[in-house]
Symmetry: C2
Subunit: 452 residues, 2 copies
């Protein structure tokens, strides 16, 4: 899908050399947004507004006043990030109570660097689902095959990047919502460690699980974007000990642990792609099982539903009819959980962290991003590895582990299925070792590409 | 009550100079324990065992091998600290599931320093109450007047120190359980900042509110004891960033804020004693109100009941009949709280912390420890400041604020009521500024004593 357009890193170089202008980039992005309108990736996009931003960037650059290497580059923003120039709806008819007219911290950081805030992307309603089939703007479609879903909840961001409309987009991730559409659409997606990146101005789903993160066309692009996410933001207390992103970290031959076994099943074609990639990536590989996966998953669900219900309580009381039936049912169910069970779930989190840390001297844990390729739109169930699982639970099948543990995670594309759909690998790093994780992913990505 | 015995600091000096021996100290403590048996301060105490520890300490000291300045000094331990040489019952017939034969970290620290672990002290059943009237060993009595309660839940430790049986004792504090008996018995009690001191091996009541702390005969004694409480203990994850206690901190004329107003009422005699002490303590005093006290109190209660119910669930299922009816009722009630309400309570905690921090440039916040003097045994209700409050809620009236905020707190005696009962002042410090708080308390204590 990327044949006509550049990665973010290539756009940075082309702008710097003068080979292209921001106005060219943004007009081409607008053209492609029209051409791929059927993907339903964008829910708000003002051509005149983004072109004026691009022209201002071109003037700055011509005068030697570029604000950063990103000055003039279009970046799309998931519709749960507050933006001063677009409405924010979380793709729900129950409109948020948060004030309009302000930027989320990550958006403000990028805007200060000159990035063109290129419209708002479609998402699963309130980020409360992983298929992007429930949205007040309708579902998104996968650029690799419009009969297939993008996954979600950052599905519009995934489609926009995979279709080459923009090279990078912002997402948020509570149980995989950055990595799932990155995996299903064959691009790169990064979820920082919990508390490393500011959520200020991003409508929450579950505040002890939520992380914002970038989706991009190439691995190096992620490294250009993470400095705008990471570090202390006084407006997000969870970041009070966050270190800024250090782009200078490098690693040697990585030690990987491939997680497999009960609760971590995947389809034969996905497993074959992962095995093949592991054999070609020049790393030390061991295999390990996880115990108590079902108990950990229940803890993740309990925390998710309870926190979401607590956050939504005032809006649900005011405008229950604004929510889709399925989201409203989740929110009502979350109210029924007992406090003692929530506390139990919070304790189980600690058990997961200890089990993962105690697996040994690993640099990254490996799983597929998804157990299957992107499902067909409308399919309610998926079958893989002896399991029959709802499409929703198939999407989060592996990804929630990273949120419950709070570890940094990345999804990288590793190949295509026989019917032309992307297959991706997820890597999990140690808490707050986001830089090391990105470097390990870079090692693997370079080895896989060199091998072609 | 302290006429015949020394403070811990005086015992340290007398042992060092050779004026007394550990055997003398311990035998005198055993004599006084017999003499004050009616106070019901101890629930386990083995004379031969503590004398043998004292004799070993005397041998070490004679050979120049004293383990620390505390070597050979008897220290009493609340019955919810695990101890390798005594059973641990939390004064309940529902016996804990925790393993016997091990020391809590604080006990182990003191034992390694040569302290004589001088028996286990009576407490409110499972620390789930502040009167010490509910205990499988019967209630404790106040050394100043046996018709009066000690307050709790560390009531046995308070009585043992106030009666001069020992100069120091260990307590735990979830809503005032160190400070309440210290206040009611006219001694000193310190609750460290949340996460500063290890709770490992102390039976929990509410793990996000609990702190262990010392009760002692004099303010300097507290400074000798806090190094054994504070610092990282890998067995208590809440201490992972805890600094060791730095005894070298000093302060100048302190800036105090006296908290008063709605929700912070107290009896006329207690208020007069506080006003008198503030006028004599050579500090800068301002007065401030707190808003939303009732909402903060509800948050403290919700967290307390919910966490206690979660911790007790396995034992309650196994042996409900072992609990007193009132404790069992608390535990059953805690199960009924919804998760969303618990989350709301956790958010309200943050509001309290911000309100206290935002009061300005204070070195300590001042309240009475108790709104009244020690109540008569058997009284169900107390009246003060236009309020009619249960005796239980009268005991925690001010103290829970320190636990909900997680701030360090100390109770110091400031005088006696006309009928000969102690009145005490509570000081709250900034989070993790335990040393500064102790230094401020020392400043006030010295000025009040110099004034006599």
């Amino acid at each position: 899908m990327q044949t006509e357009t550049e990665t973010l890193t290539q756009q940075i170089a082309a702008l710097r050399s003068g080979a292209i202008s921001s106005t060219f980039l943004v007009e081409r992005a607008l053209d492609r947004a029209v051409r791929f309108k059927a993907l339903n990736a964008f829910v708000a996009l003002e051509p005149a507004h983004v072109i004026s931003q691009a022209k201002a960037a071109d003037v700055r650059r011509a005068e030697g006043r570029a604000l950063s290497v990103l000055d003039g580059i279009p970046i799309a923003v998931k519709d749960n990030y507050l933006t001063q120039d677009y409405p924010t709806t979380a793709c729900s008819r129950a409109l948020p109570l948060e004030p309009a007219g302000m930027d989320a911290t990550v958006v403000a950081n990028l805007r200060s660097a000159g990035a063109v805030i290129f419209g708002k992307t479609n998402m699963h309603e309130w980020a409360y689902g992983a298929t992007n089939s429930t949205s007040s703007f309708g579902p998104t479609r996968n650029p690799h095959n419009p009969d297939r879903i993008t996954g979600g909840s950052s599905g519009g961001s995934g489609a926009a990047v995979a279709a080459g409309i923009v090279a990078a987009a912002l997402g948020s991730d509570t149980g995989g919502s950055v990595r799932i559409p990155a995996g299903a659409c064959g691009i790169y997606g990064f979820k920082p460690s919990y508390g490393r990146a500011s959520r200020h101005g991003i409508l929450p789903l579950s505040w002890s699980l939520d992380a914002p993160g970038p989706l991009a066309a190439a691995l190096d692009d992620i490294g250009h974007l993470l400095p705008f996410f990471c570090g202390v933001d006084p407006k997000d207390p969870a970041t009070r000990r966050a270190m800024p992103f250090d782009g200078a970290v490098s690693v040697g031959r990585p030690r990987l642990i491939h997680l497999a076994g009960e609760g971590l099943e995947r389809s034969a074609e996905v497993d074959a792609a992962i095995q093949s990639a592991l054999s070609r990536c020049n790393a030390d590989i061991t295999v390990a099982a996880l115990t108590n996966v079902a108990s950990y998953f229940a803890a993740w669900e309990a925390i998710l539903h309870c926190e979401a219900s607590a956050y939504h309580a005032p809006l649900l009381e005011r405008n229950a009819a604004g929510y889709s039936a399925v989201t409203r049912a989740h929110l009502e169910a979350g109210k029924l959980l007992a406090g003692v069970d929530l506390l139990k779930a919070q304790q189980i989190r600690g058990d997961l962290v200890r089990q993962l840390v105690d697996l040994g001297n690993w640099d990254a844990l490996v799983l597929p991003t998804l157990p299957i390729v992107a499902p067909r739109a409308g399919e309610e169930w998926q079958e893989f590895g002896g399991r029959r699982v709802t499409t929703q639970d198939s999407m989060t099948w592996f990804c929630w582990i990273g949120n419950l543990a709070g570890f940094p995670c990345i999804s990288i594309p590793i190949g295509m299925s026989p019917d032309g759909l992307p297959i991706s690998m997820m890597l999990m790093g140690r808490p707050n070792a986001d830089e090391q994780l990105l470097a390990v992913a870079g090692w693997i990505d370079r080895n896989l590409r060199a091998d072609h």
